[in-house]
């Protein structure tokens, strides 16, 4: 296999199509637009369908319909468009429909939206945050696998740089084993039950009388707990003896990794902890990774969102400081001064000085 130079948007679309995604719908919005356009370009030749919907609300409705027929389906937008999709996301969680959603976000201000959500009721989305194009290729494929495996929506959190940076990548299909059975899907077959099927979000099945919301929600909650136990993903580097552990995700973590390596080469005891799954958040792993640290520095490109999950992981054992903050360009696309190794290095050095005094 060869490595091809391509933009993140193209790489993600190709990875999704290689993972057998056969339906995509979306609505143009920077920096998500090119993802939609790449699906539009590439899906038909692989037997799939891409629709430029009339709104994000419509796009997720279409994707939900396609996924419910058993097809691997995806949709996406930026956080602004995802805001419009929140109602569907909570309903899809309850309808137990596998769907992949891409947020090509304008920075990292959608962390709460991704991990808490704005929909109604008790639900969580599985959230994967790639740090570069190469990892996005893998995590995109993983997202389709997890969606099918858990019958649950999976959100991939990207951003402007991920969508628009060109990187040499190799797109190889990852084998996740046998595909789970989709006997629940509305696919025109009898599926051995002899009954027509019904996709809904209130736990009602044909052939059963009435609904029992408590039992249904309880079953979903148990599934949520199983996901929490099984799907934690993270990367840690140089944390064991680190005085300061930086916690960062996504694109910003790539910058942080560079700074950590640079400082390590100079003998500074600093480490990086990078959550790959934002939900479930790698709380126990972070607690362990910071066991020798005297400070935990949270680097995120927002007013302070992930820092809540860091606090919940460490529970006051080590002082936590924020070295991130709001940082964007004039257009609001999240290309701010914080995306600069020198700026990050200065902030990390500052934490060391503060800690020393």
């Amino acid at each position: 296999m060869s490595r091809d130079l391509m933009e993140g948007s193209e790489a993600i679309a190709r990875a999704a199509i290689d993972a057998d995604c056969r339906f995509f719908s979306g609505y143009p919005m920077t920096p998500f637009t090119e993802l939609l356009e790449n699906f539009a370009k590439s899906l038909p030749a692989r037997g799939g369908v891409c629709i430029n919907a009339e709104s994000e609300i419509e796009a997720i409705g279409m994707a939900w319909g396609a996924a419910a027929t058993g097809a691997r389906a995806a949709t996406g937008s930026t956080g602004q468009g995802l805001a419009l999709m929140q109602e569907s996301l909570s309903e899809i969680s309850r309808a137990e429909v596998p769907l992949v959603i891409f947020n090509m976000a304008r920075g990292q201000g959608d962390y709460y939206q991704a991990t808490r959500g704005g929909g109604h009721g008790d639900y969580r989305l599985l959230v994967l945050a790639p740090t570069d194009v190469e990892e996005a290729v893998y995590l995109t494929q993983l997202a389709f696998h997890l969606a099918d495996h858990w019958r649950h929506p999976v959100l991939v959190y990207g951003d402007y740089l991920l969508a628009h940076t060109r990187q040499a990548v190799e797109i190889t299909p990852t084998d996740f084993g046998e595909r789970p059975d989709k006997s629940w899907a509305v696919d025109g077959s009898l599926g051995g039950t002899g009954r027509s099927r019904n996709v809904n979000s209130i736990g009602m099945q044909k052939g059963t009388k009435g609904i029992d919301p408590e039992a249904f929600w309880d079953r979903l909650q148990k599934k949520t707990e199983r996901i929490e136990a099984a799907e934690v993903r993270f990367e840690e580097e140089n944390c064991e003896d680190a005085e300061i552990v930086i916690v960062a995700f996504g694109t910003l973590a790539r910058f942080a990794r560079y700074v950590v390596r640079e400082l390590r080469a100079e003998g500074v005891r600093v480490g990086l902890f990078r959550p790959i799954s934002l939900w479930p958040f790698p709380s126990e792993a972070l607690d362990r990774a910071t066991s020798n640290a005297r400070r935990v520095a949270v680097l995120e490109q927002n007013a302070g969102q992930m820092i809540d999950d860091v606090r919940l992981s460490i529970l006051g054992r080590v002082p936590i400081v924020s070295i991130g903050g709001i940082s964007t360009d004039a257009a609001g696309f999240g290309i701010g001064p914080l995306l600069d190794a020198e700026v990050i290095r200065a902030r990390v050095e500052n934490v060391f000085q503060e800690g020393a005094s």
Binding site: Y27, P28, M29, T30, T33, L36, E37, A40, K41, P44, C50, N52, E54, S55, E56, I57, E58
Partner: protein, 341 residues
Amino acid sequence: MAADPALKMTRKEFVSDQDVRWCPGCGDYSILANVQRVMPELGVPRENVVFVSGIGCSSRFPYYMNTYGFHTIHGRAPAFATGIKASRPELSVWIVTGDGDGLSIGGNHLLHTIRRNINTQILLFNNQIYGLTKGQYSPTSKVGIKTKSTPQGSIDHPVDPIAFAIGCGATFIARTIDVDAKHMQNILKRAHEHKGTAFVEILQNCPVFNDGIWEDVQDRKSRAKASLVLEHGQPLVYGPAENRQGIVFKDGIPSVIDLAEDDDPIERGVVVHDEHPEASSYAGVLATLQRPDFPLPVGVFRAVEKPTYEAMLQDQVDSATAERGVGDLSALLHSGDTWRI
């Protein structure tokens, strides 16, 4: 807002201090200039004028008008405008939208604002493309259009804004052209005078992503043949003097006839334009006139009187207060059962 013709205002007073930022050659510049030119003539003081927009190239409009303005959410300007008119009916409220903002994500909101007959002016700039996001097809794009989100050509049938407005029961419907200053200014004045929702489609050129789609109706030479200027009480005649043509209806189906120089169009059965029929069927037939088989009608398709939403809303408030008296919060709180804790 009752207009005060005595009020002396100038175009400059309606020009804001913002740098206008559209692509060079965009039809929006001309629309902005004409709106700013008409405003002083309407006799409404600037502080009583509100421009409301959603998202898109057209939606930058409120920044450039030295009036009150709202730059709101994609497709939602009609909903904001409804709220404004319901609580401050005396304001002159203008909705600026486009074919994407108004007819895709905002189609639902546009429908309900129009059917309620809220006294607002809706200016829908139609360039048949998404400009702000760099050239994807819109709900008014032609079948077969190749864009980056429809690389094999669009298979969607477009919605015609005029036909849409007729379907919603609009009481004033007009179409004008970005480069025809005189025509547009006249239509804008008529829209403002109308009591109820005034829906105006403005054919607008996007020189970057969909250049030339209205060229034949914009160009002074081809305009006479490519467009049909609607004038109340006048027959539907178009084309250069030596080669006039007219529109006749047979069993409700329109067709084109050639007119000799000395023909009387009305004697030949050419339809006489009437803005006021209560039934919208006539305007509906006009809306089906599309190039290349027909000239594209421009002007007022329909203008009928119906009570406005905010007037009826006020009637309900008046009758409720007449029946039960003006409310007294304190009296209400202490009426009926109360508890002491």
